[in-house]
């Protein structure tokens, strides 16, 4: 039996899909993207099936381009199958869920490997590639990374003043931290985060975003208090969290967004 991994994407795949796959000699296995080890399943998989569009944040979403990008690096010999209720989707890897009996075993043979997939026709759903680009976009009110960068800028400067220059914290607070209104910036970060985070629940970056969410929880209290507490700055914990979050975000950006310049990729 060949194994095909299934991403239901917030929807419920009909039992008939599993039954039909079995008839084709395919074992359809649901994967839970919240678990870190799901990537281990890719090694033995013949294909990965997405139920499209996925559902999240009260909207139908299109994560195909992100999956394609991810799998092209992680498992280029896998088949990316797009299963949907759409009748007029013109692509050799599309499976019409309402017409399962129209397909045969040989259909699987003709499916393109993700490394060689032809261009996708327009898909209905919020374009998550576009959303991810906005997530990182350098300017404007969309970019969550922009907000984090401004917070990090202040924390970095304050940390340096404290640890390398021995500047008294009350001075640093007065001249740098307080004017930066960290609490408000942090609320803005939160505001934007809730706008984005739920969208990527059914994408390959879900786990990483979950890790980021957990990490940022750790600095929530300090940020909400406007950075009054000197100690977490002095011991470097705040900056460490922000740097790690930034690193994770950069990894995501490197992988999925058009290559950007950075003079300090670390």
């Amino acid at each position: 039996m060949r194994i095909v991994l299934l991403v239901e994407g917030g929807r419920r795949a009909p039992q008939a899909l599993f039954t039909q796959c079995a008839e084709w000699g395919i074992e359809l296995q649901r994967i839970n993207l919240e678990q870190d080890d799901w990537t281990n399943e890719l090694e033995k998989a013949y294909g990965l099936m997405l139920m499209l569009p996925t559902w999240g944040a009260n909207a139908y979403l299109s994560p195909v381009a992100l999956w394609q990008q991810y799998l092209q690096k992680a498992a280029p010999d896998i088949r990316l199958i797009m299963a949907s209720f759409q009748s007029d989707f013109q692509h050799s890897n599309h499976l019409d869920i309402l017409r399962l009996t129209d397909y045969s075993t040989s259909w699987w043979e003709q499916c393109q490997l993700v490394g060689h997939m032809e261009e996708l026709p327009p898909l209905i759903g919020v374009d998550l590639s576009e959303k991810l680009s906005r997530f990182f976009a350098g300017h404007g009110q969309d970019s969550i990374v922009a907000v984090l960068s401004r917070i990090r800028l202040v924390v970095q400067m304050a940390s340096r003043e404290l640890s390398k220059m021995d500047t008294p914290y009350d001075e640093i607070y007065r001249d740098l931290v307080e004017p930066a209104e960290l609490a408000q910036k942090w609320r803005e970060w939160r505001n934007r985060w809730i706008n984005y985070y739920p969208l990527f629940e059914h994408t390959p970056i879900a786990t990483r975003l979950k890790q980021i969410a957990k990490q940022t929880d750790g600095v929530e209290a300090w940020m909400a208090a406007g950075g009054k507490d000197e100690e977490p700055l002095r011991d470097g914990s705040i900056l460490q969290v922000l740097n790690e979050v930034r690193t994770r975000l950069q990894q995501i950006e490197n992988q999925y967004v058009v290559q950007k310049l950075s003079h300090t990729y670390r």
Binding site: A137, G138, H139, G140, S143, V145, A146, S149, R150, R152, L153, V154, Q156, M157, R160, E161, M165, D175, L176, P179, A180, R246, V258, Q259, K260, L261, S262, H263, T264, Y265
Partner: protein
């Protein structure tokens, strides 16, 4: 902590960013700020001491990259002010565009790192200052070179000089040809060499002129080829020689006939291989130098007498340019006078009589003698409080129409015989060597009088580097012709230690 305190102008619509950068770098830099285009140019007009412009690419709330548009404006109006763009947009296209428009570097707000940003600020500022200094230096070098060329104008419209200029221009197109300029002393051999340099492919390169006879023999090799530290007593550091200093340019070796065999060998080696070896070094250095030699001597005779190497002579005479004596091109005398008097209309400077006398004079010392005569006449006119130079202002030899040195010119001095010895008298030269020694000493005598015995001024007037060279020259003359010094009391007095009559 840097003590440089460079002044940085930040242009960003985000005032919070201004405040943060100022705070972070307050110990290292001075900051001024502008939030929009208008303020930027206002600041630039009001203050001229900015060392760096930190320019936000966006500059307003829209996505339009207003900062990008400003870069060419700033770069063209303020070329000395380097620009670093600060961007949140890390799109490669944007940054490449900005760099092409003239930005020196870029910084990304997302990637703030104190040390990195500080380094970039300093590097860009100092790199720009260095470039600016280099530009100024180059401009100064060009200016001085131009001045030098102005100081050595090749004056003359006589057919001979026109032809020589034409030939020199043609030769200048062959930057590797070795040129030999011959002619009596004072005919302008250095001027001709400079003319060659100014019109040729090597005009941007250095021009070095060396009077080989003015340099002590023991120091000549080192002076020409350089030396390594410790090569000899007194060599406390590595020194470049004239050859190295003239790399990519022209080296003029005047009085080439005066060099000894050792130097001749080394010069020949250079002409054959383009290699020199500094004294005390075991490494050859490859150089790109065009060699122009000059002499008043008869080199072919020197070759026959074994004093000059035949193979070197063959090399040197690849291109021979012979400068005529002044008396052979009297048409040029008024032009030369006009140049040295700095007045083309000689009627404003001298009487007809004085001019006539100068036109008829034989000018044994050629142009150098003419130049000295002009200085002398001007001084005399001032002393005598005369508006126009008349005959009484002229050197006595001109008035008498007799040079101090009786001229016995039999044929071309560069290729002719040594010449029959004239009737001996205390002032009469026995041979051409003595003749020229007399001319030289006479000139030095006059200059010492003129310059109130300030040896440095005399050395400069002659074209020597320093008073040591002058002293050496006088000693050489005394060593060879001590009997001549009776005629030169000022020299004798000024150089008592040498001239022991």
């Amino acid at each position: 902590m840097s003590s440089k305190n460079y002044h940085i102008l930040i242009v960003d619509d985000d005032t919070e960013f201004h405040q943060q950068i100022r705070y972070a770098f307050r110990r290292q830099f001075l900051f001024s700020g502008a939030v929009n285009e208008q303020q930027l140019f206002q600041k630039l007009e009001e203050e001229s001491d900015f060392d760096l412009l930190l320019l936000d690419l966006v500059l307003d709330d829209t996505e339009a990259k207003k900062g990008l548009d400003l870069i060419p404006q700033v770069v063209s109006q303020y070329p000395e002010l380097p620009v670093i763009i600060v961007t949140g947009d890390r799109s490669i296209d944007t940054v490449v565009t900005a760099m092409k428009l003239g930005a020196k570097n870029f910084l990304v707000k997302d990637d703030f790192d104190f040390d990195y940003w500080e380094q970039r600020f300093t590097e860009v500022i100092e790199g720009s200052k260095l470039k600016q200094e280099n530009r100024e230096l180059r401009a100064e070098v060009d200016r001085r070179r131009a001045l030098e060329n102005e100081a050595y104008p090749f004056i003359g419209e006589s057919p001979q000089i026109k032809e020589i200029k034409r030939i020199l221009k043609l030769v200048s197109e062959e930057p590797d040809v070795t040129v030999l300029i011959t002619g009596e002393t004072g005919t302008g051999k250095e001027v001709a060499a400079r003319y060659l340099h100014a019109h040729g492919a090597r005009s941007k390169g250095a021009f070095q002129a060396v009077n080989l006879s003015a340099i002590q023999d023991t120091l000549l090799e080192s002076t020409l080829f350089g030396h390594k530290k410790g090569a000899f007593t007194g060599a406390s550091r590595d020194m470049e020689g004239y050859f190295s200093q003239a790399n990519h340019g022209i080296l003029m070796l005047d009085e080439i006939g005066d060099i000894d065999q050792n130097i001749q060998i080394k010069l020949l080696r250079f002409l054959e291989t383009k290699l020199i070896r500094p004294v005390g070094s075991d490494q050859d250095i490859h150089l790109d130098v065009q060699v122009v030699t000059a002499t008043h001597r008869d080199l072919s005779a020197a070759v026959q007498q074994g004093r000059f190497r035949a193979d070197l002579f063959q090399r040197l005479k690849a291109m021979v340019i012979e400068l005529p004596p002044l008396r052979a091109r009297r048409d040029d005398i008024p032009l030369l006078l006009g140049h040295y008097f700095q007045e083309p209309d000689l009627s404003k400077v001298m009487t007809e009589g004085a001019l006539e006398a100068m036109l008829e004079y034989s000018w044994i010392g050629n142009i150098r003698e003419l130049k000295n005569a002009v200085s002398y006449a001007q001084l005399r006119a001032r002393i005598q409080d005369k508006k126009l130079i008349d005959e009484r202002c002229l050197p006595v030899e001109i008035l008498n129409s007799e040079p101090i040195i009786p001229v016995v010119m039999q044929g071309n001095p560069a290729g002719g015989e040594m010449g029959a010895a004239p009737a001996a008298s205390p002032a009469s030269p026995k041979n051409i060597d003595e003749e020229h020694a007399l001319i030289d000493l006479d000139r030095i005598e006059k200059l010492l009088i003129q310059k109130n015995k300030v040896k440095k001024d005399v050395a400069i007037a002659i074209g020597l580097e320093n008073t040591d060279n002058l002293r050496y020259r006088i000693k050489k003359h005394f060593d060879k012709h001590p009997h001549l010094f009776a005629n030169f009391p000022t020299i004798s007095q000024s150089y008592r230690r040498i001239v022991k009559l």
